[in-house]
Amino acid sequence: MFTESWHSVGPTLDECIKCNICTSYCPVSAVTDLFPGPKYVGPQAQRFRENGQPQSPDHSVDYCSGCRVCNEVCPTGVKIAEINARARAQIVAEEGIPLRNRLLGRNETLGKVGSVAPALANFSLHNSFSRVMAEKVMGIAREAPLPHWSTTGTFGDWFKKTQSVRLKSDKKVVYYHGCATMYYEPFVGKAAVAVFEHNGYEVLVPPQNCCGLPLLSNGEFGAAEGYHQNNINKLLVYAQAGLDIVGTSTSCTLTLKEEAPELLDMHSENVHAITMATWDIFEWLRERHGLGELKTDFSEMNMVLPYHAPCQYRAHRIGKPARDILVLIPGIDLRESQARCCGIAGTYGYKKEKYQIAMDVGAELFNFVADQGEAVEMTACDSETCRWQLEHGTDLPSRHPIEILAAAYGLYDLDKRDLVNR
């Protein structure tokens, strides 16, 4: 597995000059000795790995949360997080994958199954007995902020139901909703559709599936490849037609853009077409604003809003477009977090042995929010798992910036988390 990766990730280990900047920034190694740091498990340990060794030489790489802060700060361009993801995949290939990680990697399947009877599913999962059992049997931390299935139908249900009233236009955009919006937070999708339409775009929601990120983070590369290939098949025609594929889940868009092709060594023309067509929603909106096409008919929003740009968002290397747009809204006192990570890192903080690490990592962010004073009623963050972690760590509601923007347009109720009926 390692040497095949020569062309994208492998050679970057040669860039490491051992400077330790990654280790000094790593939010995980700062709070636990179980993780010896990105340099150690990344470019350093990589020199000791090869296929078919008598024993898997290392396991501490499993404590890498995949937040990619290391990549962000590396002065020489080592793809540390990817080296780590591949090393974990190698361990999985050799030693198999625990049931828990198999489950956590299959967000889409979980979403589908739970959505059959969401109230029952919520009750079955979210009672203290089940959580204790889930911890004991599977190692899913009992306190971890697991999501609730939507009891008012999935995003797909809503979109289909409202098809007749959806805007038709020559300007079209493809919406990639991701699993969380589909099954847990359809309101994020509604807000996104409202913002697209408010700006004159017709929204297309073609069939799509999980981006595969949870599988990638849990080392199941084979299954992730299947997911990504499906998405290519389903979305290619839109990309080829010159349409933008825009997502509200920043980790999904990163996976489509970069993570999947890079980690899975998928470099075909079709894969590249999807890479080039994919946008994070605020990246796309900021582009529209730059062209003078974004409506700015905002109503005044008097609020102090701590905003955390998640690690996965920073990994896009596009600056902080959500901040750039939110500050256009009159009355918003945006307080930008400089915290490295909220700790949850996708499915990392759900794992029993990593829950406390995730909370300790998040402390930097939780403290930042607390420091913003009593006036704070909610926080904002682009990534769903990070929002759940933020809510868990601060006891304040957290919203996707697109919800804030939709509210500023007067289209959305931030408390009810639903569109305003007009």
Binding site: T3, P11, K18, P36, R47, R49, N51, P57, S60
Partner: protein, 590 residues
């Protein structure tokens, strides 16, 4: 003057010398080995680490090939922990097609080298970076060896059998007796290069195993032994691009072997006749040639990060010196009985050969020692594993595995090569140590990507602390048994070095012979210079970036250019200096 008596005096602490000491002491002889620097300071510590299957010589030198495969199989047992079982490929590149591959296969079959032709697809599956345009692949039992550890283990086996191993002891002259007709070598005058103390070692028989310095030593007995020093330059890459030894299936020539060696892979070699074994200068064309040739076997090789370049000297023996090219001179072992050749008794020279056949060379030598001393004692080295062999073959990830199992991440001194603090402390106490370069050979300190950038100051700091605490002396004693604690079998294994040897160590046991020249500033300067020397020939790209960081650490933060004690020098300080004399070509240009 101090005098020692022995039956066999071995001169030279490389693979051959330690092998002779091991063999002779197992046969019950009283043995002293002297080495002017650290073990394997010469050619044994400067080769690419290939454990030959014999394939390389299957066409050209069937006798040598047969020796290789026999020794290969013996060393896999006696020195198991010094060998990585990498296997080896002989690949046929488009430009190498012709009748050689069939001759090669026939040659291997003829001398009993297990050789299987495998499909190109299978070879590419195992080594994905191999040139996909190869047409045929043969697999042979090549391996990768750790010659530093092997020499230590062999020396330890010799010690356990009663031999004395004296490093940093230099021969200043041979002791000659008799007249014109019955001249004899009766031992040697030795100087402890650390304390300057002189002594005489009287021996019944003296074995010259001085490698590239064999001719110089023989000259002290008035004997001419023509050693043609042939320089071989090798280049190490930052990580393993292949995990199998890769040879080109053609007549041996420059740059046609890539050997995975611990965390790096080494491409070798050039073959250039040089007038002297020291100093050796690496010419730019040599590095370019290695990268160019490497790129043929592994496309992209030349773009990967180069770590370091170094050169060793093959001690090629020729009865009469001709201007023949290095590769045409025999690689066979040469055992010279100077009684028969020149009428000088008590003196044998063993030279030629290669690392893989060092045990055989020792066996032949000690057989002759027996004959001279009028005794018959069978050789047992082929069936006697050296200390540590019970660990089995080493494997690439074993250090990482140990560090992880024992949670030693916080103990790392050299992060690149995963050397723990206890490994450094134990190595310092178990093995006479004068420079950090000795530690590099013992535990791989400073061998990784940063080339000592982060571990040099840590290593010096630890030794300084140990010195101040009195828990360590550089023991240069020549008393028999003085280094009974020398146990290097597990020197390189983090998991076997969880406890420091500090307890029970008695310092100042031999006050007269401890090195009082220890100076942390000198230690630091020497090692920086040593590492810098090997990086200079490849100073571009990513290693240049690394060296810039290292330069900032040492020049800007630590100001090492202006450390005190500038006048101090160790016995090897000179060796680390650059050879700045103009080349023949440069002289011609002027």
């Amino acid at each position: 003057m101090h005098k020692l008596e022995t039956e066999v005096l071995v001169i030279g602490g490389g693979a051959t010398g330690t092998g002779v000491a091991w063999d002779a002491s197992l046969r019950g002889f009283k043995v002293i080995l002297v080495e002017r620097r650290d073990l394997t300071h010469g050619t044994s510590g400067r080769y690419h680490g290939l454990l030959h299957s014999g394939g390389r010589y299957a066409v050209k030198d069937p006798h040598g090939a047969a020796e290789c495969i026999a020794e290969n199989q013996i060393l896999r047992v006696t020195h198991a922990h010094c060998i990585e079982d990498t296997s080896g490929f002989f690949v046929v590149l488009p430009e190498d097609e012709g009748d050689y591959p069939d001759k090669f296969k026939a040659g291997c079959d003829a001398v009993g080298i297990p050789c299987t032709e495998i499909s190109v697809a299978e070879a590419l599956r195992r080594e994905p970076l191999l040139n996909p345009r190869i047409s045929r692949v043969f697999e042979v039992p090549d391996g990768s060896s750790d010659s530093f550890l092997a020499a230590h283990a062999t020396a330890q086996a010799a010690r356990n059998a009663g031999a004395q191993i004296l490093t940093y002891h230099e021969v200043t002259n041979l002791i000659m007796t008799g007249g014109e007709s019955d001249r004899r070598v009766a031992g040697a005058m030795i100087r402890n290069v650390v304390t300057g103390e002189e002594m005489e070692i009287h021996a019944d028989i003296t074995v010259n195993a001085a490698g590239a310095w064999t001719g110089k030593l023989a000259a002290m007995a008035g004997i001419q032994v023509t050693i043609m020093p042939s320089k071989g330059t090798m280049v190490a890459m930052n990580h393993r691009l292949v995990n199998t030894v890769v040879n080109r299936c053609k007549m041996p020539s420059d740059g046609d072997i890539i050997v995975p060696s611990h965390t790096v892979c080494v491409i070798g070699t050039t073959s250039v006749n040089v007038p002297e074994p020291e100093p050796l200068r690496i010419e730019p064309w040599e590095v370019n040639k290695m990268l160019e040739e490497g790129d043929k076997m592994v496309p992209g090789f030349a773009q990967a990060r180069v770590l370091r370049a170094w050169a060793g000297v093959r001690p090629l023996f020729q009865d009469t010196y001709t201007s023949g090219k290095g590769r045409d001179v025999t690689r066979k072992l040469a055992l010279l009985d100077h009684q028969e050749r020149e009428g000088v008794g008590g003196f044998l020279t063993i030279t030629g050969g290669k690392w893989t056949t060092f045990r055989l060379m020792a066996e032949a030598t000690v057989d002759d020692v027996c004959r001279h001393l009028g005794t018959e004692r069978p050789c047992t080295t082929a069936t006697t594993p050296v200390p540590g062999a019970e660990q089995g073959n080493y494997w690439l990830g074993h250090r990482l595995h140990d560090i992880e199992e024992q949670h030693l991440q916080g103990q790392l001194v050299c992060e690149c090569e995963l050397v723990t603090r206890t490994m450094v402390e134990n190595a310092a106490r178990r093995n006479p140590l004068l420079t950090l370069d000795d530690l590099r050979r013992d535990v791989r300190l400073g061998k990784g990507p940063c080339q000592g950038g982060f571990c040099t100051y840590r290593g010096v700091g630890i030794l300084h602390e140990m010195k101040k605490a009195g828990s360590w002396e550089v023991d240069m004693s020549d008393e028999a048994g003085s280094t009974a604690k020398w146990d290097v079998a597990y020197l390189q294994s983090p998991g076997h070095n969880l406890v420091s040897d500090a307890d029970g160590h008695q310092s100042n046991q031999h006050p007269a012979n401890t090195a009082d020249s220890f100076n942390p500033n000198l230690l630091l300067r020497d090692f920086l210079q040593e590492r810098w020397k090997g990086v200079t020939p490849i100073l571009w790209g990513r290693q240049l970036k690394q060296e810039r960081l290292d330069e900032l650490i040492y020049m800007s933060v630590m100001n090492v250019d202006h450390l005190p004690d500038k006048e101090l020098a160790s016995p090897v300080t000179d060796f680390y200096r650059f050879d700045t004399r103009p080349t023949v070509e440069e002289v011609a240009d002027v």
